[in-house]
Amino acid sequence: MRNTLSMTLPHPSRVLLSLIASSLVIAGLSHCKKPDATMTVRTGEIAIPDDLPKTIDFNKHIRPVLNANCTACHGGVKAAGGLSFLFREESIVQGDSGNWAIKPGHPEESEMLARIIHSDDPMPPSDHGEMLSPREVAMIAKWIEQGAEWIEHWAYVPPVKPEVPNTSSDWANSPVDQFVLARLDEREMTPNPPAAPSLILRRMSLDLIGLPPTLEERNTFIHAYQSDPEKAVSDAADRLLESPHFGERWTSMWMDLSRYADTMGYEKDSHRNVWPYRDYLIKSFNDDKPYDQFLTEQLAGDLLPNASAEDLVATIFHRNTQTNNEGGTDDEEFRIAAVIDRVNTTWSVAQGTSFGCVQCHSHPYDPIRHEEYFTFMAFFNNTADDDDYDYPHVLIPTNEKAADESVHLQQELIALRDELDFSARGLATDSNWLPVDVIDTSVTGDGKLVEHEINNESTLVAEGTIPTRSQFVLNLQPQENQLTALRITAPLPNGMEGKAHVGFVISNLVLEKVDAKGTVDTVPFSMAASTFNRSDGDVSEVLADTPQGWNVYPYQFQTQDLYLALTTPLQLADDEILRATLVHKRGTERSDANTKRFRIKTTSDERWTNAPEEESRIAIDSKIQEHKARIKELGGTKIPVTVERPASAQRGTHVFVKGNWMTLGEEVAPGVPGVMNELKVANENQQATRLDMAKWMTSRNNPLTARVMVNRLWHELFGRGIVATLGDFGTQGEMPTHPELLDWLSVRFMDDHQWHIKPLLKDIVTSATYQQSAVASKEDHLADHYNEWLARGPRNRLTAEMIRDQALSLAGLLSEKTFGPSVMPPQPDGVWQTVYSGAQWKTSTGEDRYRRALYTYWRRTSPYPSMITFDAPSREFCVTERTPTNTPLHALITLNDPVYLEASQTIGRNIIASENIESGINEIYQRITGEEAPTSSITELTNLYEDALKDFKASPQDSKKLSETPELAAATIVASVILNLDQVITK
């Protein structure tokens, strides 16, 4: 019943306030304290207490009140009465009545105040929420009086480097500490002394490289720390930052953000070859690639001038969206789902903003408009992928130099092919095309071709039940007897250019001449060109008897043309006609790839006959062949990439009315939200590109990019961001606990460190704040449970990856191997049982069983069990932070999972190999926890060993199952306990 009560009973403050509010507000706070002033508005008087802040700050004092009480109805979802408190221009307005909602400088004329204190019908209406408190009302009144200055939410104003506070304490090591200490001083809190050196090193090592220090590293550090703590920490930080394992640790973080997985998702969840992207991440972190470059490559690497193989691999970032390959799915529906995911992920990852809200309506609380979602979506709406498995691909050879060469050749190949088409298009524009008379048509199955007017031209439209992979046969009478080329135009229905219609593939086009006696002669073609061909192949295949051909599939957005030049000019006798056969050999069971609408024209322009023989054309052709041969020779891995569709096949981007992709509103051009920094367009004559967007996002003026990343790094080290809501820097997010520190670090990141992450991390880990002891009393927890103010060091559970890697590392089992395809460490049988898929978990052998967790094969519909139990997300979509839990299932894993058993057995052997049990335990305890084992712990564990040994000696069968000898079995039990210690599971 507790919940029932809690919901039906209003909060006590509300009861009291609503009882006394109306009389008090209007009459003034007479029985409390005499106010200094009152303001008169239309419906009464407002008391202005004298202890209000001197200057009212919009963001601090007013916006939270508006968001809590007003924006639900006067905001992004709904702007009742045309009034929205998200934008200044929609608040400081005159209503139909001529009254001002807010009139700067004139509270007495501001209708908003009159409505709030209306005694019979106050705002917000009683069934919508609590009344505003007298103080809130007074604050708004004073703000209006002071000119109603509208200051943007802090996160939308670019950071400026603040002064470092001057605190007098020898505790502080760095500016970071000065900022932290200034806040602690305000709260009369004192920071903790440093943690024990071994714990500092363990914390740094797990935080920076995701692995615990070796015993040797520990001893070296402790020794160095005794003589010069500052230098010891700095040296250790340098060593860890330069470690080849640094990249692996931070890649784990980025894999959640970029929703990395080795499969495509949904029902079939087939394999996807994207591991080179993981290698790219590891390398980028190891090389300390500047973050602005890192982001730009991932968002728009394909558009960079002379894009390298690495730039293309980076674009897998947005090919990690799911594709739905289930039979019978609508490719356009899931393509759009992927595009939406790209938009939302971009904003979550780089801008810390929940942009997804804006998909259906304007942002409820933040100044981002509904249309702005779609203008931003337009940046992503013309990539070539279309929910058809992993199309488009590029081949990436393993060797870096070969990779760059191959990628350049592949890009040139597209350009060369385009050049051929381009010259044909020019010729087509010049030629005089005449329509043909359709004598009769026949179609496989129950369908027929019916003539309709499209764009005022007669067009054949396929109707009825036409089986997949059918043939259309047309008998045609051209208007002139001489012809040199044929043109097939596939239009969209009237007025639908830019919108999605199911497309087609003409696998083969056969032209024949038929005379009155029925004699049939094939008319050969010498060349095929098109305005667009969506394929890894070549439009010339339309001339060959293969399934590939002229491909405008799965969806068509613009009218497209196919041009076919005859080998020699054809002269038709009066009794001869033409027969054209459209052969369709492609298409899925769900959706046929038959041609939907088309018309055929002919020309007698002689230039078509010579076109294939032109020297330039021959040169291009031979270049194409050479390129293809060299690309094949270089070989490599086929990976999906982000690339743009050609201009001739652009998709129009429309507002989705109420977020429904099938209800299209007005068409929009690419753009960014108006509240942010200005977008610069590189080529003024063209629309803004994805690259322009990436540069906008990584511009020095973008208010969010640096802050969001700095905050994320801080969160990784402290377990809590300076802004606690990593994915929401908007007005509904948490306010930063240390806004000046966040800005100081952000400016330092951009200016001093030129977007390099490693020196920024060093700034943080060398601070006294970071190195503090985590010890806290009950009172400390009561005073600051979440450690928001940092009077103690961070203490957090290890991530799923760290727990596994640590166990393997401590046992000496962990493979040092970096990079490469995903591996399959042991997993219980039967975890994978996926519908319509033959994929199998094939347990890796050799050192691949013991690779770091980030290399584990990630299947979206069935992730590695121990990882998801320890809170790793399924990677189906971007997750900005993991929710840490503490459940019995964790214990089952670290006690029983064969991975941890094997680690315990190995550690057990080390214990036994030591001089005696006590020293064996002490050594391993030190290695694992970083600390010297207290005597009481050694005694406890030694007793455990003795008890276990007794038992195993008494039951040799059990003993044998666990390890070679009873001693080893007993030591395995001890090792397992050590691996499960709280201080081992946490850092």
Binding site: H11, Y266, G327, D592, A774, V775, V977, D982
Partner: protein
Amino acid sequence: MNLLQQLEHDRLQHATRRHFLQTCATGMGSMFLASAAGRAFGAHGPLDINRPSAEPLKTLAPQFPGKAKRVIFLHMAGAPSQHELFDYKPELAKLDGQDCPQEYLEGKRFAFITGVPKLLGPQFKFAQHGESGAWVSDRLPHFQSMVDDVCFVKSMKTDQFNHAPAQLLFHTGQPRIGKPSLGSWVTYGLGTENQNLPGFMVLVSGGKVPSAGKSVWGSGFLPSVYQGVQCRSKGDPILYLSNPEGVSRHMRRRALDSLNKLNQQNYEEVGDPETMTRISQYEMAFRMQMSASDVMDLSQEPKHIHEMYGTQPGKESFANNCLLARRLAENGVRFIQLFHWGWDSHGAGANEALNKGFSDRCNEVDKPMTALLKDLKQRGMLDDTLVVWGGEFGRTPMRENRGGKEMALVGRDHNPGCFTTWMAGGGVKAGTTYGESDPIGYEVAKNPVEIRDFHATMLHQLGFDHKRFSYPVQGLDQKLTGVKPAKVVKGIIA
């Protein structure tokens, strides 16, 4: 501070705390911590579910007393044909073999049907059963005896026509991945009655997990402790439940005693309340090892029960899972989710075609689901156990003509427009039928029930107002039933 200032101060403080819970994705986890440290949160607006950190699944009372205390959800994955089981349409029989009229096809999206398909009459004999006179086909001879305990909903509709998205909608309220499943919501809201077992357990048969994978029992934005735990028919019933070979229960106890002592010592030094939580979780795991193995051991059941369900211990089957479901229900598990794969009767393969594999599927489920209802009833548990049966969508009254051709086997395509589910127990109106489909079972003709209505009704039976059962995520109060208006279907409930 005067009275008003004090009130204002308290209000602001309260708002700040609530704000944190609302906006921080770690809200729930942090809330556990907070309450462990002795703080309580005020509650107004959305439901605040406040539990000590060591007991995230602690039993809580619902918002109002519900008729159902637990749920057993039998999902027939792949979507069984209503035309061959419950939704008898003599009119469709008459139209068998005729071309489907054009008006039925305009504006429709199908998975595989192309052009103009032929109508397909019911493939099996139907008869009325029980006092309620419910129509059931001859494929379910056992189930016919239980129709007076069941409420059929013949007017179900969905807006998804592919398996994975439709299953996601059916279980999480959204067709895209990332939202908590029904079972997660329910265990989040009610906790569970037996702390030695997971509160939300999943049993899969038919050799496959559902199309949407584990997301259909995922916890979405709720803490992962509320995700479904899959029980397995081979090996450990719960992953890693058994001690490693050679580690006896006695040995584990001894090791845990040492571990607890050392962890306790660590807590005294460092003072992190999470350490105490961890100790209690290890203890719970130890108890779970015993209770889970025990509850999953079907050999404890007498012979007549095995005969009743048609169980064969040690084999993965729907029958075994039905019996397990009863045992889990008896042992206080809150939400028991079954999936049985193999109902995707397109006619593209013998194992699923209506004239082939469909009958096998019916045989596999008929006896055990009937036994489950009878068994719950004879134990007096049906009253407070909500049993739900259904697929993710229905099937077309047209015969599938994949690729525009007549297929060798007989099948039907996906139909989101109309399908049949049934509910029993848990305060459901027994022996009734709610809603109607049109004369050919293609669209809903009367009393449509959207998936969100279905969810609202289930939550209502469990004691929750779906409009006020929410979880704050990134500034929004997220609900299972989403933003479109949902209603409790009064006609289903007693």
